[in-house]
């Protein structure tokens, strides 16, 4: 069914090829930045997940599915699973303290003069991140694979 003239991924787009290589780490780094600052500034797991997924999708368009699968190492469905797992796990510490399911738990401490805020909320947000990345990549990868 494959018609060579009807391929989305052209193999000879040098600019996109090179740009995607450089942009991927930057975009991923940016997505992590958005994720971590999300509780106080614009950002958060959902937005960061979209940015992260966008980074990989760009790479996928430039280099194709196989190359993308190689650099991802994880199957996107596993990322989805990790996300759901983290989201669910973050709900339980509250029960141990006798609070209602999903109540946020915070551990705030000083590390060399910097205030570090750890919480179940952060775990939950990371779960959101992975779930979003996993969902989008699952859909995009299977669509592209169906194409080939």
């Amino acid at each position: 069914m494959t018609d060579p003239n009807k391929k989305i991924m052209k193999d000879n787009t040098v600019i996109l090829h090179t740009a995607a290589l450089a942009l991927l780490p930057l975009q991923l780094l940016f997505s992590v930045f958005l994720l971590l600052r999300g509780h106080d500034e614009p950002g958060g797991g959902f937005i960061a997940g979209l940015v992260g997924a966008g980074a990989v999708v760009l790479y996928l368009f430039a280099h194709g599915v196989d190359a993308t699968r190689r650099i991802m190492r994880f199957d996107p469905r596993d990322l989805l699973g990790i996300g759901l797992f983290l989201g669910t796990v973050s709900a339980f510490p509250a029960l141990l303290r006798g609070e209602p399911f999903l109540s946020a738990q915070w551990w705030i401490f000083d590390l060399a003069g910097t205030e570090i805020k750890l919480s179940t909320v952060l775990v939950f947000d990371i779960g959101v991140y992975f779930a979003v990345v996993g969902t989008i990549l699952t859909v995009v990868v299977s669509l592209t694979e169906a194409e080939e």
């Binding site: 069914m1 009807k6 989305i8 999300g38 509780h39 106080d40 500034e41 614009p42 950002g43 958060g44 797991g45 959902f46 937005i47 979209l50 940015v51 997924a53 966008g54 999708v57 368009f61 469905r77 989805l80 699973g81 996300g83 759901l84 989201g87 669910t88 709900a91 399911f101 999903l102 946020a104 915070w106 805020k117 919480s119 909320v121 939950f124 947000d125 779960g127 959101v128 779930a131 979003v132 996993g134 969902t135 989008i136 699952t138 859909v139 995009v140 299977s142 669509l143 592209t144 694979e145 169906a146 194409e147």
Partner: protein, 767 residues
Amino acid sequence: MLYAVLSGFVVAALVPWLHWLFRSHIGWVLAVLPASLTVYFASMIPAVSGGEIIFQQWAWFPGMDIHLGFTLDGLSLLFALLISFIGTFVMIYAGGYLKGHPALGRFFVVMLSFMASMLGLVLSDNLIALFVFWELTSITSYLLIGFNHDNEDARKCALQGLFVSVIGGFFLLVGMMLLGIYGGTYSIAELLTDSGDWMSAAPVALIIICVLGGTFTKSAQFPFHFWLPNAMAAPTPVSAYLHSATMVKAGVYLMARLNPAFGEEMLWTLALTGFGAVTMFVGAWLSYTHTDAKKVLAYSTVMALGTLTMLIGIGTHYAMIAFSAFLLGHSLYKGALFMIAGAIDHEAGTKDLSRLGGLRKLMPWTAAAALVAALSLAGVPPLFGFIGKELMLEAALSAGPLQALALTLAVVSAMLTAAIAAVIALKPFYGPRLDTPKKPHEAPLSMLAGPVVLAAVSLLFGLVPGLPETMLVTAAVTAVAGVPLDFYLSLWHGFNLPLLLSAVGLSGGALLFFWWDRSREPLRRLMDRLDRFAPETGYFKALDGIVWLCDWQTRLLQNGKMGNYMIVLVMTTVVVVGYTLAAQHGIRFTLDWQDINFYEMAIVALLMVTAVFATTTRSRLGAVATMGVLGFMVALIFILFSAPDLGITQVLVETLTVILLVLVLFRLPGFARYSTLFEIFRDGFVAVSFGLLMTMLVLATLDARMFEPISSYFIEAAYPEALGRNIVNVILVDFRSLDTLGELFVLGIAALGVYSMLKLRAEKLND
């Protein structure tokens, strides 16, 4: 008592490991649990027979008046003891019967879960908790009937049992909710103590019909009796336990439990006596016409269930005593007989009574146990069954308006029962030795223990009737009758009418037994002709009707055209929401043009232009691109009104949507117009009305502030309570995190759906 009930579930969860550890001895190991429960409940006998009612309660859903409250009075104790005592031997028996079966572990998981649910059912004081256990028994019964699920017949029979009892369960739930609403409580004890107060205002007839809908289906009363013989597709230990001794008595239990409240109602009395008597006769008759040992026993169980229902309906003191004695007697001998039938089937390879004979020398213990249990079934002194039957006939004599019916059917059923008892006890073991598929030999110890002990207990209770009387029956009768009664059980009541009727029954039974061989052929032809009128035919007709209805509505609603789905969804929303809006708020709004900046106007103008272009363009790519532009415009609006998070999200989602659309677009055929002019106008109308509705809705919400908006709370509480300054994020991951968690799973399911659809298609293409 909570632990007594829950222990079954806990051990059930451990079975896979226990099975791995003990292998073929698993039956003996698991029998320890019901055995210790028997001891536990037996230790309560002195207190309960002394008139005490033990009550323990744990809050479950306290806000909804649903508690795990367990009551132990005479009736519950009788049932709890039967469940755990017979359960002990059934576990041992099943270990032998299913020895080496690959799914033995699964079998015991369900079996123990059933036992725990059944205990919960008879001990629960709360109606809702009782209902939960009730349905659990239906589900475990379904799993057990369909245990050999690679057999299509077993699956069908399992489903039939499930359908019948679950539909009944639905009625029961309605009845229970009505009881709760009018009685003001879900506690059975409280409902029974002040039944006079609430019943005057309640729709008692409706409640009774709903409750009976549940109990009649569960206890296989006519015309719902057909599922029980079909349930014999289950392995024999299941038939012995669920479908004779315990589960099918749940309906009888509930009727007995509620009898103190409804006992005075005419409808209750007539329905129970009438249906009970008919069920008793139909069961006995069908039992006589069959030759498959398990079917014979199943129909005779139907007969017994009918008898019990009739006795509750008659409602006199004698009937209550007869009820308790008959219940006890039946569970003992019927459990034993089923296990014997299973043993014969297991050792000889057939359970067709017309093909068995002369096994007495080969299976002496089984033969002896069968003889004792069958004598109890026939109601021959000095077995306990005789006492039960004697009392039953005595009660039928006082059956009020239905006396003639009840008495005639009782005597005829007694004859038929005596005949089948003789068939079961004598046919396989005496007479000429007939060829069987397997070379028969005595059953192993695990399969003998149950029948022998249960038969021995039948004999013991018959010889010393004072024993069950003081321990169990008196307290049970008190619970069913609602008031304490004075009586004593004995074998000898003097020369009276019941004794005469008993003798008539036995001699009639003897005659019928001698005709048994000769009557097979004509009976079979008669039953074939009657088949058309059997209630089961109605069941199949109803099933066909449901399938037809589903066909019809699927063709109507699920026709696979995206456009139609959209029209239905959108127009339903427009009509329902539009009506509500017009009725509640009216079509009015205030427009304020003052605050609008020119750049906002510009964005809106652009939005409108792109929207028009998107709907009229003839290029698919163009439409997708303009949809993207629309999205970015909306994002711009978010940013202008200082909602950066929403803006960013919108931009990202738009980008990814365009990418996805491009990927999909690639697979679509060329663009062409398929719609007729009418369809274009119809779709246009739908779209415009939806757009109008949404606009009106937004304007109306601006106008009508019925509540203080919650956003101010979020703004205030975000930092102090959730330690975050980004309110959107705080709402997503803290305040409303349960919603987000739900959304995550929705995302996951959607992704897996897309994945499996694409992969499935790819596989099909490859084939």
